[in-house]
Amino acid sequence: MTVAVHTPYTVPIGFMDALQITVLILVAAGATAVVLIRRPVHQVLALSVYGVLLAVLFLVFQAPDVTLSEITVGAVALPVILLLTLAKIRKREE
């Protein structure tokens, strides 16, 4: 456990590595899931979850600013816009 500066928030390096690798795998799985899901509404929900995963990825790579942007845009704004568009399209089809 060689960490340059010890603070109350210091995380052992091995643990951080494991966390980063885990989240990278989750992000890859999430992205694949978004592509493979065929029903648009389900796809949007998966995309929203994927946005959260991506936000966690940025957090464990020490980019909290980008995390906040990703949560607001990827997990909230984009899914809302897509869901509203889907609702409009479905209304027209009825």
Binding site: V73, A77, K91
Partner: protein, 253 residues
Amino acid sequence: MTPAQRRWVFGVAVAGLAAFYLWGLSGLPGFGNYPGPYGFVILHLAVKQTFATGIVSAVNFEYRGFDTVGEEFILFTAAAGTAVVLRVLRGERERSAVDEAADRDVPPTSGAVRMVALLFTGPVVVVGWWLTSHAQTNPSGGFQGGVVLATALILVYLAGEFLVFNRFSPVALTDAVEALGAGGFAAIGVAAVPLGLAYLSNYLPLGQFAGAVSSSGTIALISFFVGLEVGAAFILITGELLEQTLLIRQGDG
């Protein structure tokens, strides 16, 4: 073109892409090895120069403020574009927001959705405001804060109805707020010019402590205006989409 030929073209393209990609990857610096000087220079100077401890905000709103003005106007243009594209077209009519068929039951919003939306509205406003007003002290800023503030109005829509959404954010008001946000940012920048400074220079007093909410001069102020702009733009875009979904129908009125 036969399928076999098409597969050939695809195969060549994929092989080419893979080769270039791997070539590019092999030239990247190792994981976690930042090669450039600018990051280190900024880390040494930013807090001393700007009194902002949120260094990302200092970079966004000061060192590369000019880029950020551009990004701001991208969003501004996007909101304007959405409003133009989603107007009521010929052959479409706008339904009244009140349900027309009184005898037909509208599927009611479920109690759980209403309660969760109502419970979250207040906290979301607080978080949005906190993010917008603390760009200079910690990771946050007007972009994130603005979207979070707009989310509060989407929660109002979920808890109530489109009518309520419209009452809370009348388009005229939201338009004005958006213009104020975008114009405010640009005006803060221009105000530096008569003082003999470059566009978007930080001419306000920096405060006494690095990391105080009142410190960092124009950085905090710009974040505030960005919050207004982004929040209003997102509300406008969502409002336009809601109107398309709920009110606009085929056929003439």
